[in-house]
Symmetry: C2
């Protein structure tokens, strides 16, 4: 039986950066498939009655979060620099990752977008930033951007976000292994352990 | 130089239970002193503009929290049963732990109170529950309870809670190592690592 973890994330989520950037190394020794699934976290927050990221309503927790992400990034040897704008519009890269979910370059693309935002303070809501990333990866923006902006992709991302909401997801990253939800970068190892034990 | 971690907790906090129950094992191999410091977390929540535990305002996150605590307790081989009442008044055991912060039985007392609430669904806001715990530990409630309820102890717990607030604590458990705050049972190992490295 195929072992699989669904990793739900948002490009605007700092702990999603940590999880997506390290997941390949963490599963390297196991025979587990990781599906990277972008969602519009803001839409889930709205459904839960929150106007935006719950961090914004809690300045003290927000200040702590940046300290914590910085320490965690250092622990994992990941580049990090606190972005000046937070949160940020992440719909364009999310649509690209939705439209090209099977592309061999998906994982690398996600990491490049996360690093642009969380390590180099780039405005990933600006299509030019995303175009530049695609070009640096030797991909053709003229081919990719129209498909990412198609009605089909928009509907697809909306549907996936609704499904994530149905799975009781309330933050990112979230890992789904069979019927179990694990929330937060800190639970990556537990999600993998649960997946390997095959308790279902 | 003495290495020390200050562990701020509330008896009503499930992740505080996990941290307090496992901290001795985790620091067993290192020369670190752990100070258990009870606070009135509700008072800190009020100062932050929250009426009660932020979990109560977020039913989906609350439901997840119980699943997560159950899994974590299992991972750490700790007894756990979701209590029927949450949160619960924790001021009496907090006052005892304040008044007897230097007692050799403090750590064991804390674990017994946590287990009464989080493993045996006992009402720890009821003085009878606390009296029973003291007796089972061969301690004399007639000696302990009056000192716990003295004005001096009340003032002391209030002062410690204000100090915790000044340290930017916003949840429990929180670990303070020198000037650094680590929040959550998940950060216990990081706090210890930081303490051992002596980066300050």
């Amino acid at each position: 039986m195929n072992k699989q973890i669904d990793l739900y994330f948002d490009f605007s989520s700092p702990y999603s950066y940590l999880a997506v950037a390290r997941v390949d190394d963490v599963v390297a020794a196991c025979d587990i498939k990781v599906r990277l699934i972008p969602v519009v976290l803001g839409a889930i927050f709205n459904r839960l009655g929150w106007q935006s990221s719950p961090f914004l309503a809690q300045p003290r927790k927000l200040a702590y979060m940046w300290q914590d992400v910085k320490r965690q990034a250092k622990k994992y040897s990941l580049e990090f620099e606190q972005p000046t704008q937070f949160p940020i519009g992440s719909i364009l890269p999310a649509r690209i990752a939705t439209a090209f979910s099977d592309a061999p370059w998906l994982h690398d693309f996600c990491i490049q977008v996360f690093k642009a935002y969380f390590a180099r303070n780039k405005d990933i809501s600006n299509p030019e930033t995303i175009e530049k990333i695609l070009k640096q990866m030797d991909l053709d923006p003229q081919e990719i951007l129209p498909r990412a902006s198609s009605q089909e992709t928009k509907n697809q991302l909306k549907l996936i976000t609704e499904q994530a909401d149905g799975l009781q997801i309330f933050g990112a990253p979230s890992f789904i292994v069979h019927d179990q939800l694990f929330w937060g970068d800190d639970r990556l190892e537990d999600a993998i352990e649960f997946c390997l034990r095959g308790e279902h």
